[in-house]
């Protein structure tokens, strides 16, 4: 009952070797990053009316309902300039006879504006001067964007300091690297979707800031717990301890992500897709991509980066070498013991010992099994074996 993969995953015993394959993950991340950057530079953001400005047409309300007017303007705009983005939902300004519908469209040049103007006039049988058109500036000034970018930088600096205090330098670096990865990839994928950037997009994007680090913190917390005082023992390398932490938090990450993504998915697919509340789609999309990428990066990017950085730390480097040396020594000892056994030199007793101890990295039977001598080598094996006995299930 408890031996299926899902069940092992659930218990954190699935032994997914994520850290070990970090080259693969780096390649995947590098590829995704490259594609995102390319898309950012080549496709670029399609900025909405709020950022770029546009045109406004005012049409008297007597011509009919708002949706009729919206449809007419939309058609006219797309006839004048097929490549242009969507028009904005219209509004009625004022009431009664002087009431007008105001409809904002993406930026049109003078000729296109005239064409749209004429088409609307013709369609509703109005006088030319009954429809007014004017250029509308952006409502989201450069200042707002600049300030948002400044706050992003301040946040990155502050969160780095916080993570250094709370964890340590390398963990902070890995976490911030994964946050940057999230942001770049989210932006890149968003450009690829071809959706317009609206204020909602920016707000959604900034919402990700807090969330993207949530999962990373969860995983790193466990990593910190598993690797506390790791250099004091020689049973596990840093990479292995980290991988174990990843496995132990795997289900947790999946669960938190699912719980956070479900409402966003609802927003995106039901709200924007089925019910047609179009303004929700940009927010829904940016959140969905951002949170999805955050889940991926906390598991497959942040932790491998952490291990990669850690392996540059001399203390960890030494420790890893020590663990591996001991392990190869043990393995060598084992195989030689086996060989010795096969040669029939000495006793089944020793062979049995070798077998029982085999799964642990320690190796007791070294000394007796080497009849040929080289006692110097066996010293390391012994001491290692002694300590490995301490490991319990």
């Amino acid at each position: 009952m408890s031996s299926g993969f899902a069940s092992r995953l659930y218990r954190g015993e699935a032994n997914l070797n994520i850290v070990g394959r970090r080259k693969l993950w780096f390649m995947v991340a590098g590829g995704v990053m490259l594609v995102s950057l390319l898309s950012l530079f080549i496709i670029q953001f399609t900025l909405g009316i709020e950022f770029k400005g546009g045109n406004e047409f005012q049409i008297p309300t007597k011509v009919g309902s708002l949706s009729q007017v919206e449809q007419a303007v939309d058609e006219a705009v797309h006839r004048a300039n097929p490549g242009v983005g969507d028009i904005h939902a219209g509004q009625q300004i004022g009431q009664g006879a002087s009431g007008v519908y105001s409809i904002r469209t993406p930026q049109l040049d003078d000729e296109q504006t005239k064409a749209v103007h004429n088409e609307i006039v013709g369609k509703f049988g109005l006088d030319t001067n009954e429809v007014s058109d004017s250029r509308v500036s952006s409502s989201w000034g450069k200042g707002v964007t600049d300030q948002a970018l400044i706050s992003l930088l301040v946040f990155l600096a502050a969160v780095t300091v916080y993570l250094i205090l709370r964890f340590e330098l390398r963990m902070a670096a890995a976490a911030v690297a994964s946050l940057l990865f999230d942001l770049v990839v989210t932006a890149g994928v968003y450009t690829m979707s071809g959706f317009e950037v609206t204020p909602s997009t920016v707000i959604g994007f900034l919402t990700i800031l807090g969330f993207a680090l949530y999962d990373v913190v969860v995983v790193f917390d466990k990593v910190q717990e598993n690797t506390r005082g790791i250099t004091g023992s020689s049973t596990q390398t840093y990479a292995e301890a980290t991988n174990l932490a990843l496995n132990q938090t795997f289900m947790r990450s999946i669960n938190t992500s699912l719980v956070a993504l479900l409402p966003v998915g609802g927003l995106l697919f039901i709200g924007a897709g089925l019910l047609g509340a179009g303004t929700l789609k940009d927010l829904g999309l940016v959140l969905f991509i951002g949170m999805g990428v955050a889940v991926y990066s906390s598991l497959f990017f942040a932790t491998p980066v952490l291990v990669w950085l850690k392996e540059r730390d001399p203390a960890i480097m030494n420790h890893t070498r020590r663990v591996l040396t001991r392990r190869t020594a043990a393995a060598k000892a084992r195989s030689e013991a086996a060989k010795a056994g096969a040669e029939g030199t000495s006793a089944p007793v020793q062979k049995k010992v070798a077998e029982t101890v085999a799964p642990k990295a320690g190796a007791k039977p070294v000394r007796p099994s080497r009849p040929g001598g080289q006692p110097a080598r066996s010293g390391g094996g012994r001491s290692g074996g002694g300590r490995s006995g301490g490991k319990k299930r």
Partner: protein, 583 residues
């Protein structure tokens, strides 16, 4: 799904509800039209700068999610969700502030009507003599009979004159200030020459009668075209008329200017200190007088200029000297605080001022705050005509709101189903906490809407619902910890305790980061970003409150019930069985 459908359907007309944004309920659209002296549209750079300053002003007035755009090349359109126009009244005011030394003062009332009255007394109808002027003599030099002037009390009187006064549209056929030649043609050569020759307001009736044609000049563009000296010396140019000059008529600091305080017409020197020299301003109550004042700090160079100006006024040195008519009680010069076309106050300078100072005036609390804000955020280099207000309907409206809420509700329902499936009975803790968070968040939105005008757009609503999903994450962290502990063979009671201690650290770290993001965005950003970040920060705090004050106690309670351990109900049963097997 449960928590918001109630208030969203039934409540929002009659009961407590959050303030909804422009996109959902519509609002007011205010159009400001730029006016310029030459009738040409202002340049695009100035318009964009004006747009940004107006945006800042609107935001500072607690109207969030206001949209400010430039329409065409001379209009600024402000759309806000509130229906009350007061909130954004006067945001188009240029707020160009200058400090000018007052050189001469005369009565700004209508001179006694024409010939029939032989009396030479230019007494104005409204008690010009009533003033308690300590002026010892008539005056020196040319200003012989400027006597009837109502010298302003040193502490100011005129209301800050915030409103660009309404103008008669009829007089605006040609929207530019007339040149001197054109004006000369209008009033006739003789009166023009007579006016030009004046060095002080005339006292003899024939001259006054001769100048009569000046009374026919239109206020907005014609009076404003006269030289400051003529505006001052011709008695027919009354304060009523001067107050109706086009906005921005006296905004050149390098020229002398005439403006009124109450009914006193003041002839003022070039502006030696300007609003741009002010680094910070705040409304305050003067400790001694109990009057509302706007205190201000000056920039480094501004402080020097201010010190120089006050020294000049205090010693009546400088060129030109103040006229006798323009000296205060203690024989010191007055310095007028001129805001756009109006004098806010003209106090007598009681000493050389070397530090921050105050502007006195009869301010209401709102006016004081508004003046301070306007000084702080900078003046507009473009002047705007009276605002035009119109209501606008929602761009999205109720059906979109319902669609969004329904979609998010379905998403939340999925979360709840998932948590019941995965955590069984513990799912109910998640469920209850989500309801609690939802109610608290909703309450907070209502509160913020009332207190600081926080308005919710559709995107904002979506964002909050998402934040609730993120809040549910902390449960997963805790429950998974709990499973770990039980798997290690702990009894439920102690497991609840231990898991809480460990999960708490993780949850606090993660939430601290969210809070940090919210705080930094609130402080360093502006407009919609700051508003949204602020509210999201509060939502995170509420999540922490729910986690600490609700979830932990309820889990401790659960740990005492037998159902908690039953595999069918709690989702922990399997873990416990496994724990038994392995140990």
């Amino acid at each position: 799904m449960v928590w918001f459908s109630g208030p969203s359907k039934a409540g929002w007309e009659d009961r407590l509800h959050p303030r909804l944004g422009l996109d959902l309920v519509g609002g007011t659209r205010v159009t400001l039209t730029a006016v310029t002296k030459d009738g040409n549209p202002p340049n695009a750079g100035d318009m964009e700068q004006a747009r940004q300053i107006i945006q800042t002003r609107v935001d500072a007035r607690g109207v969030s999610e206001a949209q400010v755009v430039i329409e065409g090349n001379d209009k600024i359109v402000i759309s806000v969700a509130s229906r009350a126009d007061d909130a954004i009244k006067d945001v188009g005011q240029a707020s160009r502030l200058f400090f000018r030394k007052v050189i001469k003062i005369t009565d700004g009332g209508e001179p006694a009507a024409a010939a029939p009255t032989p009396s030479a007394a230019p007494s104005a109808p409204a008690a010009p003599q009533a003033s308690a002027t300590p002026t010892p003599q008539a005056s020196g030099g040319g200003g012989s009979a400027a006597q009837p002037s109502a010298t302003p009390s040193p502490t100011a009187s005129a209301a800050p004159a915030a409103t660009p006064s309404p103008t008669a549209p009829a007089a605006r056929a040609d929207k530019r200030i007339l040149t001197e030649d054109e004006l000369r043609k209008k009033v006739g050569d003789q009166p023009w020459e007579a006016a030009k020759a004046l060095t002080a307001p005339p006292t003899d009736q024939p001259t006054i009668d001769l100048l009569k044609p000046f009374s026919t000049l239109g206020e907005e563009f014609e009076v404003a075209g006269l030289s400051p000296e003529m505006q001052f010396n011709v008695p027919w140019i009354t304060c009523v008329k001067l107050n109706k000059r086009i906005p921005g008529a006296i905004q050149d600091p390098a020229q002398r200017a005439v403006a009124c305080q109450g009914n006193s017409k003041m002839y003022m020197d070039v502006a030696k200190v300007a609003g741009t020299d002010i680094s910070n301003a705040a409304p305050q109550i003067d400790q001694q007088t109990g009057q509302r004042v706007v205190s201000f700090d000056l920039t480094g160079p501004g402080q020097n200029k201010w010190t120089d100006l006050t020294r000049e006024a205090y010693n009546n040195s400088g060129d030109p000297k103040c006229d006798q008519t323009a000296l205060g009680d203690q024989q010191r010069c007055l310095v007028a605080v001129v805001l756009d076309n109006f004098i806010v106050s003209a106090p007598e300078i009681q000493g050389v001022l070397t530090s921050s100072s105050q502007i006195t005036g009869k301010f209401t609390p709102q006016e004081a705050k508004q003046l301070a804000d306007n000084l702080k955020f900078g003046a507009l280099s473009v002047s705007f005509d009276e605002a035009e207000h119109k209501t606008v309907t929602a761009t999205l409206g109720a059906e979109y709101l319902r669609a969004g809420l329904l979609a998010a509700g379905i998403g939340m329902l999925l979360v709840i189903i998932y948590s019941f499936f995965y955590y069984r009975l513990l799912g109910s803790v998640i469920f209850l906490s989500l309801i609690l968070s939802g109610v608290l968040t909703f309450g907070m939105l209502v509160f913020l809407g009332k207190v600081m005008g926080f308005t919710l757009t559709l995107a904002g609503i979506a964002g909050f619902i998402v934040s609730l999903g993120v809040a549910a994450d902390s449960f997963v962290i805790y429950f998974e910890r709990l499973k770990d502990e039980i798997r290690e063979g702990r009894q439920p009671k102690s497991a609840v305790q231990r898991a809480w201690q460990r999960a708490r650290r993780t949850i606090l770290t993660a939430n601290a980061i969210s809070l940090m993001a919210a705080a930094i965005l609130t402080i360093f950003s502006s407009g919609p970003v700051a508003g949204f970040a602020f509210a999201l920060g509060i939502a995170t705090l509420l999540d922490l409150i729910v986690v600490f004050l609700f979830r932990y106690p309820i889990m401790a309670m659960f740990a005492n019930t037998p159902a908690f351990l039953s595999p069918r109900v709690s989702g922990l049963g399997r873990v416990m069985r496994e724990a038994k097997e392995t140990n």
